[in-house]
Symmetry: C2
Amino acid sequence: MIERLREIEPSELTAFVDVLKKDLLARVSEKISHLESSLAVAELTIVLHYLMNTPEDVLIWDVGHQCYVHKALTGRLIDLETQRQKNGISGFLRRSESAYDFFGAGHASTSISVLAGVCLADESTGLIRKRVAVIGDGSMTGGQSFEALNHLATLNGDTLVILNDNNGSIDPTVGGLHSEGNYKGYFQSLGWDYSYESKGNDIPSLLESITTAFHNGGKRVLHIKTVRPHLSKPRSYEPATTFQWWAAEKLREILHKDESLRILSPAMFSGSGFAPLREIFPKQFIDTGINEPHTVTTAAGIVAAGGRAWVHIYSTFLQRAMDQVIHDVALQDLPLVFLVDRAGIVGADGPTHHGVFDLGFLMDIPNVTVWNPRNGDELQAMIYQAWTIHNELNGPLFIRYPKDKTSCGLPEEFRTHSWLMEQNSNSLMVSTGHITSSVQSGLFDHLHLGQIKPLPLNLVEILSRYNNVLVLEESIGHGGVFGAIAGMAADADLDLRLVKRKISDAFTHHGVRQELLKELGLIP
Amino acid sequence: MIERLREIEPSELTAFVDVLKKDLLARVSEKISHLESSLAVAELTIVLHYLMNTPEDVLIWDVGHQCYVHKALTGRLIDLETQRQKNGISGFLRRSESAYDFFGAGHASTSISVLAGVCLADESTGLIRKRVAVIGDGSMTGGQSFEALNHLATLNGDTLVILNDNNGSIDPTVGGLHSEGNYKGYFQSLGWDYSYESKGNDIPSLLESITTAFHNGGKRVLHIKTVRPHLSKPRSYEPATTFQWWAAEKLREILHKDESLRILSPAMFSGSGFAPLREIFPKQFIDTGINEPHTVTTAAGIVAAGGRAWVHIYSTFLQRAMDQVIHDVALQDLPLVFLVDRAGIVGADGPTHHGVFDLGFLMDIPNVTVWNPRNGDELQAMIYQAWTIHNELNGPLFIRYPKDKTSCGLPEEFRTHSWLMEQNSNSLMVSTGHITSSVQSGLFDHLHLGQIKPLPLNLVEILSRYNNVLVLEESIGHGGVFGAIAGMAADADLDLRLVKRKISDAFTHHGVRQELLKELGLIP
């Protein structure tokens, strides 16, 4: 399709983009969560590929929410019908998928850093080509965007950053930069030339602005205003079915009792299930922007100043704040509760978003407590317990739960561990998290760990009763619960045959969560 | 001393600060690496504590390099004589050390986030007080500073950010913001009021500027120019004694052959040992600023664009870029070599800086290779090998080395593992990294792993020959080499008694590296 695009006259572009949008909508409509972001840049996408000689010229998309028209245009229109499904294409950018995907993305604010890399590489190889990054106003709140603008300003080579300003990403954009509306002053202070195009969905205007920008060269930002169509309803979770919904229910109860508690999120409240609560307790929910390091340190600052704070964060984005967890929270003995959402395999979003690293990383940090509920009942008990013991904590407490369905039955008390089956077998299955609920009873005893760090005090004694111990956890890596139990067995000189079931040492592709868990051997 | 300060007249402050500076210099002089940064803010420190009612009012110092006058003034003048020594005070800010250390710091760019937390807490508790963060121009290149300025601008509460501009931190400050000199435009674009004080070492000028700033309130930046005295010689490593020196020697050989290679560092070249090389190959060394996420993604961008890049980074700062290692490098199969400096216990800098997490974190990421040399010979062999295989790599390669002395003997070839003693014992010691060199030969066989990920293919067969295996590694956490070997033993159903020697699950205090390693049971 891209060859055809490059053969037509400028006057035919508007018709071209209208046909493409219609075709796209007919094929995918409700299936793509970020389709609106992509449709908002349909005209921009067409004009960029029309004026640039991609893939030789470099076009970098930030995050990937804006990439569906780009995918359609670069040979993947039909593939979009099965995107994010097993064996289908990715919902994000992926280098292995197409030469037109210059750089992979799924997390925000990396594109301008990549652009800096391209400038440095092209200087060393002598290559002269067009270099463009497209980034949304939401991604601009991430500090890495600033780092990259600041550094890139001092490098050689023409580069164009297109700021796609549609007033928000998943949540509305927060922060002084956006509310002041003085992007011009911001970019100029960092050494960038700036121009503005108000008609970001108008092909002739874009043709002119972008042609001019390429002609002028230098370090240049073109700020364009685009409009997102409203296709889908706001997200919400079907009542009483998901970990997210049960978490929100318990939090509602707590917030009714506790005016002082602040819940911080790096721009992910809309996926949290807390959106309805935010309406009721607007002062207590604080969206910091897409900036995980800042979110975590701010929460630590609240606690250091005598306030109370919890952080809601997706596991995959917590990877961005590991140093802050270590340096600003754990090392400083600060009591802070983290609700780690999307812990484990996330399904359709795939390898950029699977929350498979946090369990291992967190368990390796001193002074940390980690809880891993098996179902909605236990999650609710943990959330309530966290609230009651918050002030006695001497460090961070992480409650991890997956993007998955679960039910609640009878309210339960928090327990660090619980026997699901004890029948004096000489084999023990130790499991943690939601996959505990899928274990089929058999010839072994079965112990569920709600708390995986620190391990329950009597676990050594329990382990010593068995010959065979199988550890089952939804996590990657060499440590985690398996490593902790192996270490415990070594330290206590237990003679155990250990078996491990965890995610193997490879990136897991996208697909349906339950199917992926089966493939990984974690559920039957 | 702070009580005395608050009793004197403004006209006596200059004499007060001069006496304090002299006293400080007499006591510590050459012993403190960042004393210059602290002396540059001596007047500022005195004026702030004079005008503020600390510790009830909140004074936050970024990084901690500027904190020595603050420490002296707040009851720790004599303690500074033994700072960074065992049982002495920390070289950085530490909450447990003094109520005047409102927030701990050792890594850059966290202070404004803490300030945001204080505003949020004070709003919830109704507290009205002065709130100040002091941050250097170097720390301002870190994206978290931007994130915090951007978000804090939209919160309630008066806050004052003092930008201490002395033209650099450890290395000269890079980036468009600093070179353009338009800090005013930058802060205003984010919604902050801005004023400038050129006489940052003059007490009357500071008294007036800061009094005015407090009086005006709001979200306010006071940009002050200060001058750092030149006390110490530029750092350099004694030839032929350290890992850093041997690394630089091998790199020199490579750079003579390879014009295309780019070495990136987040503002830490001066500690790397590469400073002399930078003079010879100025185009090939790229200081990105204090911005680890950007550094890593930029390097990935260089490689994606057909260039060649290595990253030099301290282990403790690599914690800030774990998501970029996962999302931008490992997941995208990009060949990138990391020289991970200060891996392991760093000694005097203490718990904020010990490089004890990266080994465990990195080994948990798919598609990663990790090398851990035992001495200078092996380090040089690894660096050369990394260069020769760079283009064949399908992911990141990490070469980790400590801040320690080592010697070189005969040049050696790279080997993934090497037998140091093989005498048909039924016990095996497996060790990795520099502590391998301290293992005393005994009744066990001894295998050194130069490559710890992936583990050597024949390791299962080797392990199967033994009854007892002791794993020795300079790393914290449940995974690492111990966890990997425990997993290998479980998967292969080996009947092994494992013993683990690694850093226990606690933050390690500061002191002399060799003594700390002894205390931790890692060397005899």
